[in-house]
């Protein structure tokens, strides 16, 4: 009996040690001493760069930049989008700006959405950035749909028309006074970089999950078409029943 119990104990011990070895070897990650780290496979994540900031640019303050940054912290849609991408804040004048943005942006501030391979899905600069957080989110969603090959059905909707008269007037006013508001004096001892942002959540995410359509136009068109089709079929059937007897 004793030898049996001893054998059983030994068996259990071997089983436990074997099992622990298996866990260490088969873990889906990199074994680091006793720790196992699951590395985020986020190579397909998109990038959003917000370029701007600095203190004052030629006597004008980049208030728009701060406002856009604020949108990404307060608007639920933009906040959710921010958490699904690599979010890069690029301050004007920094080395990363000079080497990687200065030559390829058209104005300050700039919002740029890129795929992991560098393809620009959406970019807007200066006065062409939508005036509200909702507008910016809608523009990004539209652009991402176009990037994925989803186009409006109607051909005349594919191209933007000329600016409407009231928009022209607004553009003229924006041109005349692009950054309203007083410009504070730059402080003497200024940190070249803003505080490091909170780290992005780690996941294996690829392209961000965006709604299929921000505008109901596609659904409306499909709805109208199916209603017309249904109505037509109904009329035809009824006409047959009524007059072909």
């Amino acid at each position: 009996m004793k030898s049996f119990l001893c054998f059983l104990l030994m068996f259990c011990f071997v089983l436990v040690s074997f099992n622990s070895t298996c866990i260490a070897d088969n873990s889906n990650g990199i074994a680091v001493e006793e720790r196992v780290v699951n590395l985020p496979q986020d190579q397909n994540k998109w990038y959003i760069s917000i370029v701007g900031g600095g203190l004052c640019n030629e006597g004008r303050c980049d208030l728009r930049f701060n406002m856009i940054m604020n949108w990404f912290n307060t608007n639920p849609n933009l906040k959710s989008l921010k958490n699904q991408v690599h979010f890069c804040i690029i301050t004007v004048g920094t080395p990363i700006y000079k080497e990687r943005y200065e030559k390829n942006i058209s104005g300050i501030p700039t919002v740029r959405v890129q795929k992991a391979d560098g393809t620009v899905v959406y970019e807007a600069a200066g006065k062409y950035i939508p005036l509200s957080a909702e507008g910016l989110y809608g523009a990004i969603v539209d652009a991402s749909q176009k990037a994925q090959g989803i186009f409006p059905l109607l051909p005349w909707r594919r191209k933007c028309g000329p600016l409407l008269p009231w928009r022209r007037d607004m553009d003229r006013r924006l041109d005349a006074n692009p950054s309203p508001g007083p410009c504070p004096e730059p402080e003497p001892d200024v940190q070249p970089y803003p505080p490091d942002p909170d780290p992005q959540p780690l996941d294996d995410g690829g392209a961000p999950e965006l709604p299929e359509s921000s505008h109901p136009r596609l659904r409306v068109i499909l709805g109208v078409l199916s209603a017309l089709l249904g109505g037509g079929i109904g009329i035809a059937v009824q006409w047959k029943r009524t007059y072909q007897r």
Partner: protein, 194 residues
């Protein structure tokens, strides 16, 4: 003559196609590259220098500057990991020479600091071609040496692996968001009206 024109056309086409990829993958701006320095104990600070360059590439400028002002000298994996943990820095590392780690680090555009010269020195790995198991094409790797951070050093991928593995196979990197890739103008989908 026709052949020459054809060759030139094909070369030009090939060059245009290749232009889309940024090489090295982790193309750290020269001003953000941290050179090696002598610490207070008279030792080189190559581990710290490589790690600081990567922190800057991943947008953690203040953390990098803090690190430069507070730490230095030679490091071993355990102590360096404890420093990173103490400062609440998100990082990943291996000490077993697992090549998958290097592939992951460069695939996700983060790069990593790796040991070379039998563990006496640490450099930044900035490019690492994935192994396509095709013997006809040569895969390359590139490093940035903090003793001369002005230029990248390119070498065959296998050479780098041998060097790294014979140097205790330690690699470490911060895990934050890397700098965005350069815009790929060949494949613009949508550009807002200017």
């Amino acid at each position: 003559m026709k052949n020459i024109i054809l060759f030139c056309t094909l070369s030009l086409y090939g060059a245009i196609l290749v232009q889309g990829e940024e090489k090295p993958t982790v193309n750290i701006p020269s001003e953000l590259r941290q050179g090696n320095w002598i610490g207070r104990q008279g030792e080189g600070s190559c581990v710290h220098a490589s790690f600081i360059s990567l922190l800057r590439w991943q947008g953690r400028y203040n953390t990098a500057n803090y690190w430069r002002n507070h730490y230095g000298n030679g490091e071993c994996p355990g102590h360096f990991a404890s420093l990173l943990n103490r400062n609440n820095i998100r990082f990943a590392y291996v000490t077993n020479g697992d090549v998958k780690f290097l592939e992951w680090a460069c695939r996700t555009r983060r790069g990593c600091a790796i040991t070379v010269l039998r563990g006496k020195h640490v450099v930044t790995l900035v490019h690492f071609d994935e192994d396509d198991y095709d013997d006809t094409t040569q895969e390359y790797a590139a490093i940035l040496d903090n003793n001369n951070p002005t230029r990248y050093i390119w070498m065959p991928r296998d050479t780098l692996i041998s060097e790294w593995r014979s140097s205790y196979g330690w690699a470490v990197t911060p895990v934050y968001s890397p700098a965005a890739p350069l815009p790929n103008s060949k494949r613009f989908f949508h550009f807002q009206e200017r």
